[in-house]
Amino acid sequence: MRTISYARAGAEAVAEEMRRDPKTFHMSTDAPQDLLKEFGEGRVREVPIAEASFTGMAIGAAGSGYRPIVNWAQVTFSFVAMDQIANQAAKIHYMFGGQAKFPITFRAWIGGGGNRAAQHAQSPHSMYMNLAGLKIILPSTPYDMKGLLKAAIRDDNPVIVFDSFRLLDVEGEVPEEDYVVPIGKADIKRPGKDVTVVATAWLVHEALAAAEMLAKKGISVEVVDPRTLVPMDRETIRASVRKTGRLVVADESGPTASAAAEISALVTEDPATFARLRAPVLRVCSLEVPIPYSPVLEDFVFPNRNRIVDAVRQVVEAEKAAAE
C-alpha cells in the first residue's frame, strides 16, 4: 500500500469529500492553493482573520443546507471564536429542539514540538470535551486521519477534528480507495497482556516506542487509541483494562479535568473493570504551565516515551510495593 503523510491524508479527505458533495465548501484564512485550484473561489473561501465571524457564518450556512469545513489552522485561534463554538455550534441543534441540522467540520492543530511557545503549542482538546453537543476527534495516524475526517465531514453535527502538530509529516499507509473510520470507535494499536496504555495522537507513537522498550524487559503493553474523544469508546477501553488489570493514560494536555482524567474515571467507576484493577491508574500528561519556548523547557513540560515507561513500571510494581 502507498504511504502518505498525516497532513496529506487530511488534505485528501477534504478534497475527496468536496468532490463527492457539492454542498461542502471550505473556509480558512490563506486558502489551500491546491483546493482553490480545483474548486475555485466559490467553494474555497478565503476569509478575513476574524474567527468569530467566519465560525458563525459556517453555522448559518450549515443551517441553510450547506456542509462547511472550517480550518482555524491553530487551536489557539479557535479561542477567538469561543462564543460561536461554545454558545452556538454546540447548543444550536439541541436548544432549538432538533429542528435543523448543523453539519460542520472544524479543524485545528494542537500540540507542541515546534518551540512555538505558550499560545501556539497548547493542547486544549480536553476543554472542548466539556461542551455537550460537539463531537471531538483526535487521530494518530494518516489512515485514521483520512478516515475520521471523511466521517466527520459526512456527519450531520458539528465535529472538531484536531490535527496533532507533531504528526503532520509522519507517514503511514493509506489506501487509494474511499473508506471512512467510524466516529466513536477506539483502536488497539498494539495488543498486550500486562498493562493497558491508553494514549492519544502523538503519544500513541510514544506509547508504541515505550511498549517496544518494555517488551525487552518482559512487560507486555497493550496500546489503545481512543481516536474519538466524544463520544468516547468506553467499552473497548474497559475491556482492555479488564484483561490487563493495569492502566496508564498518556495525553499531551495537562491532567486537570482532562481527557486523561475522563478515561481514568470511566475505568474506575465501572464495577466490573474496577474489580480487575491491580494497581492505581496513572496519568502521563504535560506539566501544568503554559508551554515554554526554549527546547530544554518545552521538552521538560511535555510527556514522552520515557515517562510512559516509568509509569508502566510503577503500575507493574504497585502490588509488590503495596505488599512491602
Binding site: 478575513p48 476574524a50 467566519f54 450556512a61 443546507g65 441543534h93 429542539g97 432538533g98 453537543g133
Partner: protein
C-alpha cells in the same frame, strides 16, 4: 410607495398581535406559568413588522434575546410559541429553548439568541448560503444598539460588504443596552453612520413608523436581491418595558423618557395613517380586530396549558442529529 390597504391592515394586525402576545406572556410569567427570562419587545413592533413585511417566506432572519416580535412578524405559529414559553412538549423547541431560543426553520426564522451580537455572523452565513444558492433570497440580522459595539457586528459588515452578500443588517436602536444608555457607549449616536466605514448604504429611519421602516427595508431587500450587497438599516425606537420582566429587574431609565416614547406609539400611528389615507378602519372595526387577536392569544394559552410537559428523559434527546 405605500403598501396596499390590505397589507397595512395586516401590519396593524401583526403589531397588535406582538403587543397582546407579550402582555399575556408577561402576566403568565408573573403568575409563574412561564419560566426563566422574558424580554419584551413592546414599543418596538414597527421595526420587526416593517422589515418582515418586505420579505418572502424563503428569506431568512435571525433574532436576539428580545425575539417574540421577530418570530410573529415572520409568521411563527402562536400556539407553538406560547407552548415553548410554557416549557411544553409541543413548543417550537420541545421545551428545550424557552423565550430566548425560539426558532422556526420552516419559515426562515433562524432563532432568537441569548448572546448579544452572536446572531449577526450566523445570519451572515445564511446570506452566504443564499448567495451560493443564487435564487435571489436574502438574510436579515436583527440586533440592538448594544450589539453594534461588538466585534462580530463589524466583522460581519466587513465580510458582507467585501463579498456583496445579500444581507440586511437591522439595528433596532432602543437607546438602552440592558441598563446602559447608548449615549454612554456609542462613539457616534447613529449606528447607521458606521456603514460608511464599509462602503455600504447606512439608512436611518424612524423605527416607530412602520411604513417608513417597510419602505427602507424594501429598498435594502431589492438591493440585496440584485446582488449589490448589504445595507445597514437603523430603526430608532424604544422599549416600553424593563430589560426583562423579572420583578426585581432594575430600570435606570428616566420615567419622562419612557413616557415620551409611549406618546410615539407605532400602533395608533398606523391606525391614524390608515384612516387618513383610505378613510377606512372604523373604531368598531379596530375593536373587532383587537378582540380577534385577544381570542387568538387565548387559544394559544389554552393550547399551551393543555399540552403535556416533556418527559424528563427527553432531556437526553436531540443532542446530536
Amino acid at each position: 410607495m405605500n403598501p396596499s390597504p390590505e397589507i397595512q391592515r395586516n401590519m396593524l394586525r401583526l403589531m397588535q398581535t406582538i403587543r397582546r402576545f407579550e402582555e399575556r406572556a408577561s402576566d403568565d410569567y408573573q403568575a409563574g406559568d412561564i419560566y426563566g427570562a422574558l424580554h419584551c419587545y413592546i414599543g418596538e413592533e414597527a421595526a420587526a413588522v416593517g422589515v418582515c413585511s418586505a420579505l418572502e417566506r424563503d428569506d431568512k432572519i435571525i433574532s436576539t434575546h428580545r425575539g417574540h416580535g421577530h418570530c410573529i412578524a415572520k409568521g411563527a405559529d402562536l400556539d407553538r410559541m406560547m407552548a415553548e414559553l410554557y416549557g411544553r412538549e409541543t413548543g417550537y423547541c420541545k421545551g428545550k429553548g424557552g423565550s430566548m431560543h425560539i426558532a422556526d426553520f420552516d419559515i426562515g426564522m433562524l432563532g432568537a439568541n441569548g448572546i448579544v451580537a452572536a446572531g449577526i455572523p450566523i445570519v451572515t452565513g445564511a446570506g452566504l448560503a443564499a448567495q451560493m444558492d443564487g435564487k435571489g433570497r436574502v438574510a436579515v440580522a436583527f440586533f440592538g444598539d448594544g450589539a453594534s459595539n461588538a466585534g462580530p457586528f463589524h466583522e460581519s459588515l466587513n465580510i458582507a460588504a467585501a463579498w456583496k452578500l445579500p444581507v440586511i443588517y437591522v439595528c433596532e436602536n432602543n437607546h438602552w443596552a440592558a441598563q446602559t444608555p447608548s449615549s454612554a457607549t456609542l462613539a457616534l449616536p447613529d449606528v447607521a453612520s458606521r456603514a460608511t466605514a464599509y462602503g455600504i448604504p447606512g439608512v436611518l429611519v424612524d423605527g416607530n413608523d412602520v411604513l417608513a421602516v417597510h419602505e427602507a427595508a424594501s429598498k435594502a431587500v431589492a438591493r440585496a436581491r440584485a446582488g449589490e450587497g448589504p445595507t445597514l438599516l437603523e430603526c430608532k425606537t424604544y422599549r416600553w418595558r424593563k430589560h426583562t420582566e423579572r420583578k426585581q429587574q432594575l430600570d435606570r431609565r428616566p420615567i419622562e423618557e419612557v413616557e415620551s416614547w409611549k406618546q410615539r406609539d407605532p400602533i395608533p400611528r398606523l391606525i391614524a395613517h390608515i384612516r387618513s389615507q383610505q378613510g377606512q378602519l372604523s373604531e368598531a372595526e379596530w375593536e373587532e380586530m383587537d378582540r380577534e387577536i385577544l381570542a387568538r392569544i387565548e387559544r394559544a394559552v389554552a393550547y399551551a396549558k393543555a399540552s403535556p410537559f416533556p418527559r424528563p428523559e427527553e432531556a437526553l434527546e436531540d443532542l446530536f442529529a
